[in-house]
């Protein structure tokens, strides 16, 4: 239902030359997966899909077009739209070159959780309607399957879009489920937290999938790649892994849009989004600021006020 509206819109945009290309999601040979695709012909639009497995943050691809003249249509969920707003604010692309296809998103589904619950299921067994998710006609509780980063989502609707697919969500998973991914860690003592993260950091192979899938990691040369000077050793030792992830987290402070793309990209299942999510939680509390939700307010780390809070400095 959503897809036919999406495809009609995409065809119209290309036919009327409103845009030169569309960056969206396409299907793959494997169940419950999608892939990022780019199309520039009307007849290619049938390949577009929109389902709860569209996990990539497509704003990430805008950097390819920074120095081109293309007018680009982009499929954006709530979080992706926030990422676009941050990119606009940071002058990475101009708004008039973008056409945002807004997607009202009830939350992404975690493939592993789904396959555990329904080991033999194929995508045809499920139906996604505006009222929810159905397995063989029976409604299922989305809480069981949602990505952990989506369970705490506050912006299921894109704050900025040109055309919306589907109806605006009336509630957010954050309101519905009252569960924060960070609670279990916040409840740990600092020693327990250290042990936990040391264990996670030992898993990291430093493939940089987290950084490269992030829409807001667009530095021409990442500090982690710099060899002169060398800030972090290329050896994936726990201490160098810590250094990489903590510096990346600080670079994201006040900019992270909480999409969770980094965590979904991680090939060794490190809950890596928790680091920037924690920083954003502090910023939300201390500065009453959320990245990418409007065009005007200045990012806390890019501005100075005399009464800036400092309680988190220890």
């Amino acid at each position: 239902m959503f897809e036919s509206i999406l495809i009609d819109l995409a065809k119209k945009l290309l036919r009327e030359k409103t845009v030169d290309l569309i960056i969206g999601y396409g299907s793959t040979h494997y169940p419950f997966r999608t892939e990022p695709i780019v199309i520039n012909q009307e007849e290619q639009a049938d390949a577009l899909v929109w389902n709860p497995f569209c996990g990539n943050n497509l704003a990430r691809y805008l950097k390819y077009y920074k120095n081109t003249q293309h007018k680009i249509a982009l499929m954006v969920k709530g979080c992706d739209s926030r990422a676009v707003q941050v990119l606009l604010k940071e002058d990475q692309i101009k708004r008039d070159r973008l056409y945002l296809i807004g997607l009202s998103c009830p939350g992404l589904v975690n493939r592993e959780k789904l396959q555990k619950q329904f080991p033999q299921a194929s995508p045809e067994d499920f139906e996604w309607k505006e009222t929810g998710w159905f397995y063989h006609g029976e409604q299922i509780d989305p809480e069981l399957f949602l990505e952990k980063t989506c369970l705490r989502c506050r912006y299921p609707n894109p704050p900025e879009y040109d055309q919306l697919i589907g109806k605006l969500q009336t509630t957010s998973p954050y309101q519905t489920y009252q569960k924060d991914y960070l609670d279990p860690i916040d409840n740990l003592s600092s020693e327990e937290r250290w042990d936990r993260w040391s264990k996670e950091m030992r898993k990291c192979i430093r493939c940089y999938a987290c950084r490269n899938s992030c829409p807001l990691c667009y530095c021409q040369e990442c500090f982690a790649d710099s060899t002169q000077p060398q800030w972090v050793s290329p050896a994936p030792t726990p201490s160098d892994n810590f250094l990489f992830h903590l510096v990346r987290t600080m670079h994201m402070a006040g900019r992270c849009v909480e999409c969770g793309a980094c965590e979904r990209a991680c090939p060794v299942s490190i809950p890596i989004a928790q680091l920037p999510l924690k920083v954003e939680a502090i910023i939300r509390e201390q500065f009453q600021f959320e990245a990418g939700t409007d065009q005007e307010s200045a990012a806390p780390l890019l501005t100075y006020r005399e009464n800036d809070p400092g309680d988190f400095v220890k």
Binding site: Y30, I205, D225
Partner: protein, 332 residues
């Protein structure tokens, strides 16, 4: 070739005796968790056992107006490594050929390789992402020097050419004629199926000739250029060297990835692989063209499908190869 069968209990007993020296790949642990003992070590990727993610080669320091170099002797204790056929092929047919060339032997790899006894677990549960049959493997592929085990009528089938290395063979009972035939038929079926579906012989040269093809550009667009595929690939063997410390330090060897923009960056600032297109093409051609052209037709990919499984954007090397193969001589 010595073969036999053993009860599940006896097999697990044997694994328990040696568990401290057992490395088990994540794939085996996932498919057959009963083979993983408490103290055996699970590894993400088979190559970690031989080709370390990072390694110190020698220490150095500047003293008395000269460089003092202290070699670090690679050490390794005899160990067992349990893996699936595809993963093991990565060692026998790819990594050994790269690191154990008579003219250029990599000493660390050689030291670890020498004491390593391989246990191959027949694959009974292929993943949807697997494609070993396209690249010369099959789910029952084994090597005579290894111990091959396969679940067989509530028991396990055993086979090796080196029974003196695997004392488990003493506990095995011989198969009767019917059982022997059954194993042979099973194997033959797998091999025949794999042979039928194997990539055509002209693929390595054909892909080589498509070096300048426009298609690489389309294929590479969505790639994020992270190193997830190469770091979790059992055959990817590229590494980088760096000196850690100015006047005192060590020579560091780390895994490197052809997906990284700096992989081929020259000191002059020139980069022969400046964009996604060149880097993605390199990954495909190294495995499916350059390596087989040099190594008697053996592919540099074993078809385990790990890179497809973990790719953040579902970049699919099998699909890419099949798309390019269609173009060879304009096949339809």
């Amino acid at each position: 070739m010595k073969s036999g069968k053993i009860t599940k209990n006896d097999l697990i007993q044997w694994l328990k005796i040696h568990q401290k020296n057992f490395l088990v790949t994540e794939r085996v642990a996932h498919h057959q968790p009963e083979l993983l003992c408490d103290q055996s070590k699970e590894i993400k990727n088979i190559k970690e056992a031989l080709f370390l993610p990072w390694d110190k080669l020698f220490n150095y320091h500047w003293e008395n107006q000269k460089w003092n170099v202290e070699n670090i002797q690679p050490s390794a204790s005899p160990r067992f490594l349990m893996a699936l056929p595809c993963e093991t092929r990565a060692i026998y047919e790819v990594l050994d050929r790269v690191f154990l060339q008579p003219s250029e032997t990599e000493s660390g790899y050689a030291a670890r390789r020498q004491g390593l006894k391989m246990v191959i677990v027949g694959c009974v549960n292929p993943e949807p992402t697997c494609f070993c049959h396209l690249v010369g493997g099959n789910p029952y592929w084994s090597h005579p020097d290894a111990l091959f085990i396969l679940p067989f009528h509530d028991e396990y089938y055993l086979e090796t050419n080196l029974p003196e290395q695997f004392d488990i063979m003493e506990k095995g009972t011989t198969l009767n004629k019917a059982e022997k035939e059954e194993i042979e038929v099973l194997r033959k079926q797998m091999e025949e199926k794999a042979n039928q579906e194997k990539l055509p012989e002209d693929v390595p040269q054909g892909l080589y000739d498509l070096f300048e093809d426009q298609e690489w550009e389309d294929l590479s667009w969505k790639c994020l250029n992270c190193g997830a595929c190469t770091f979790l690939c059992p055959t990817c063997q590229c590494f980088d060297m760096s000196a850690e410390g100015r006047l005192k330090g060590f020579q560091l060897k780390t895994w490197d990835s052809c997906m990284f923009p700096k992989f081929t960056l020259h000191a002059s600032g020139h980069n022969p692989r400046p964009t996604f297109k060149e880097r993605v093409r390199q990954r495909v051609l190294h495995k499916f063209s350059y390596f087989p052209l040099r190594e008697e037709g053996l592919y540099g990919c074993v078809g385990c499908g790990k890179c497809i499984e973990i790719c953040p954007v579902n970049w699919n090397i099998r699909e890419a190869v099949e798309r390019m193969v269609k173009k060879i001589g304009n096949r339809s």
